[in-house]
Amino acid sequence: MRAILPRFWAWPSQLRKRGVLGINRRNLNYLFEANPRSVYKLADDKAVTKTICREHGIPVPETYAVIKRFGDLQQLSEIIDGRDEFVVKPAGGSGGRGVLVIIARNNGLFDIANGQMISLSGLRYHISTTLSGLYSLAGQPDHVILEQRIVPHPVFEKLAVRGTPDTRIIMYRGSPVMAMLRLPTKASKGRANLHQGAVAVGINLQTGQTFGGVYFDRAVTIHPDTGIDVGGVTIPCWDEVLRIAGNVSNIIKIGYIGIDIMLDAQHGPLVLEVNARPGLSVQIANRCGLLPTLQQIDSKLSSSTPVDASKKLVLDLAQVHLNQNLS
């Protein structure tokens, strides 16, 4: 039996052996335990996250404006006046929903990164539906951020299809646990959202080199659109990325957190957003479960220790993780 069946599913014992974290356990043991309800708003409202990061000197994309009321829409043309490229983003959205990346102006129309075009009134409508809560987590009224468009670092030129790749680092109690590089595809319509069909590649925490890969929850090693090998790419400024992620998790006291960082060609790593409920596909990208590392962190830190941790520990754990991958 066991020899044939695993083609279609894995036995729970196999997943346990690989340390795979399931969604129920993530919710019960990590989100409930490590993420107090009161700090969710710091992660769920991107405008708030950005403000906190900026106050602490953490690089974020430049904000042009935050639209909070329908009345503000009248100033829309003034806000974007003279800007040919910018990003319109719901402050409370998730999974890249409702994000418009404007890459150029064309006879009064705006070119969107996914190849479509939109008029000024279309933009206004998009913002007003966002304000009324179309993309927010629970359909509540939302804010809209207009910010700097990130130009992908040249290293990603071949890998990115119609969008900007980003790196997600899963942090637990101040230590990096796992990381992945998310690459947009045709299926994901330029968004780096795994549910919509973006490809993710595991990142070796120690070296910043990519390996493995996942596409629609299946293990892959090539980009589905271009056929290019996604492994073996070294993320530029990887130490800087890890350092920024550590700082963010020290400031925003969320125990279990996913930090999304984009690498701008000019400005280097910029924190895009933080996610208080990071998904689990990162495990498939890394071909490895999250549990062993999480448990190691728990056993190293007594439960009374606050969320921040020494840099030494961070590196120790990175080493642990590396060993695990190689074993």
Binding site: A10, W11, L15, N24, R25, T129, Q196, T221, R287
Partner: protein, 527 residues
């Protein structure tokens, strides 16, 4: 963690023990329960054969609870016909309205009513106080078939019975006396016509009742005929007739045949007022009806604890059948939630909204599933298409949702009306489809389709439907409905089960599939 687990374990244990103890205690008392002295249980069975159905509505009068008797259980079987139960306010009656299903030309309606007769220790008024309107009074004073008002013979008798000095209630007594003494019970071939009864001095029960109605109405006292049954064992029970006269805001029952005036023994169960027929239709049609009555031994599940015991609060079967139906629906909802929770947290199926599947299933529980399905799919398709068109109008969200809600309501009503036009009579319960839930589902479907692609939207839609179907299959099961009604304590066990699932930290079934590549792969970069 450990603290929480202990707390969870204790809560579950307490819930399970409390629930089980309650059920056990009630079961024990139920088995030991005896009917109080003087109370009896009867079963009235209707067996109506409709050999040539043509269409059109047929009204069948059915018993209702009175101060003396309580219909505590009823069951219906209706082949080839669709049925609904309505209450007529004016005559305080209940009717089963049946309509043939297209393609069926023969139907059979079988119904059983279990009636508890209360003891007659405290006399109660058989009918509640009512204030008749002028039209109603006129209605109960007018002439009708076999009730001839203006006949000189009737006037003559009435003038003998009345004089200017006496008041109406005295007149009423005299009329009653006349009908019970001067008209004798006729044998074969006796008349059932009011005038005939008065002229011949002998008549059937119906004739005597009508004679009394004629005299009352001529004396300007509103009166009506009551058709019903005596509760006594009979394989082929005869319809009985008596009279109700309106006096001092009460309908007083009078039976000239047996000499009851103002009150009746509790064995008289009224079925229909104002008519002699139990089965009635605007069309002429053939039917064969057989009514039988037998006395029942109180079944063990029958709760007959002495009244006004606090314990009885838990006994929901003492409520009227109509109320029981609604309460059963409510009690089934947490069960639907349990099923949804199992699907979402243990199997890992995504649905639109948390309780959408349970609510959709619930609205189908009592509806005829075919009409339900037709209405459901019409609403859904039109809703989704309309939403696509609305996209072009670029409306704000709340306004857009409200427009869709309006369209959903319109579609639903149109669908019901079209079904009716086609002769496929829709069941009223299909309209119970949770419209707001449907609206939200259409909206979520569209957003998901737009954001995550149609494939994902259909996947979640299929998940929602699959969970709803499973809920429906379980909730439709009649035994489960009876069980939750008989033992509301089951909800405690349900809560315990939900708490256990709420602490389940194992893999979801779909994760065994989702993460299978991790289990298969070696250490690095193998696919």
């Amino acid at each position: 963690m450990v603290k929480e687990q202990r707390l969870v374990a204790w809560t579950v244990v307490i819930l399970v023990i409390t629930g089980s103890l309650c059920i056990a205690a009630r079961l024990k008392s139920l088995y030991r329960a005896r009917l109080p002295r003087g109370e009896t249980v009867w079963r009235l069975t209707y067996d109506i054969d409709l050999p040539a159905l043509k269409g059109g509505k047929i009204h069948i009068a059915i018993p209702d609870s009175t101060p003396y008797s309580r219909v505590f259980r009823e069951s219906f079987s209706h082949q080839g016909i669709w049925m609904d139960i309505l209450r007529t306010k004016r005559t305080l009656g209940r009717e089963a309205i049946i309509v043939p299903i297209v393609g069926h030309d023969r139907g059979r309606f079988i119904a059983q009513f279990d009636i508890l007769l209360k003891s007659e220790q405290e006399p109660k008024l058989p009918n509640p106080k009512v204030q008749l309107t002028t039209e109603e009074i006129e209605h109960y004073l007018q002439e009708e078939k076999a009730v001839q008002l203006t006949d000189p013979y009737v006037l003559n008798i009435l003038s003998q019975l009345t004089s200017k000095q006496i008041n109406k209630s005295k007149v009423l007594e005299r009329i009653f006396e006349y009908c019970s003494e001067n008209i004798v019970q006729g044998g074969q071939g006796a008349t059932s016509d009011a005038l005939g009864a008065l002229q011949k001095g002998s008549a059937t029960t119906l004739g005597r009742a009508r004679a009394m109605i004629v005299l009352c109405r001529t004396a300007k006292i509103p009166a009506r005929l009551v058709t019903g049954f005596f509760l006594e064992s009979a394989l082929d029970a005869r319809k009985r007739y008596w009279v109700e006269v309106y006096s001092r805001k009460y309908w007083l029952p009078c039976d000239p045949e047996n000499g009851y005036f103002g009150e009746l023994p509790s064995t008289f169960v009224p079925i229909r007022r104002d008519s002699t027929d139990i089965v009635r239709s605007s069309l002429i049609f053939d039917y064969k009806a057989r009514y039988s009555i037998r006395r029942l031994l109180p079944p063990p599940s029958f709760t007959a604890l002495p009244e006004n015991r606090l314990w009885n609060i838990l006994d929901l079967t003492r409520l009227s059948p109509g109320m029981q139906e609604i309460i059963t629906l409510l009690l089934l909802l947490p069960l639907g939630a349990l099923i949804t929770t199992i699907f979402r947290n243990i199997i890992g199926i995504h649905t639109f909204g948390t309780f959408t599947p349970a609510l959709i299933a619930l609205s189908f529980v009592q509806a005829d599933w075919r009409t339900g399905a037709v209405v459901f799919f019409i609403v859904l398709t039109v809703g989704i298409l309309a939403r696509l068109l609305l996209n072009k109008l670029k409306l704000l969200m709340v306004a857009r949702l409200s427009v869709i809600l309006t369209l959903v309501v319109l579609c639903m009503i149109l669908a019901v009306s079209i079904l009716d036009y086609l002769g496929l009579t829709p069941s009223a319960s299909a309209v119970l489809l949770p419209m707001v839930i449907m609206t939200m589902m259409i909206e979520r479907f569209n957003i998901t389709a737009e954001e995550d692609g149609h494939k994902q939207a259909f996947k979640i839609f299929a998940g929602t439907m699959a969970v709803a179907l499973c809920c429906l299959l379980v909730l439709r099961e009649g035994h489960i409905a009876k069980l939750v009604l008989a033992f509301p304590e089951i909800q405690l066990l349900n809560a315990a089960a939900l708490i256990v699932i709420g602490r389940y930290s194992g893999y979801r079934l779909n994760e065994l599939w989702r993460f299978r590549d991790i289990a298969r792969s070696g250490t690095q970069g193998v696919s």
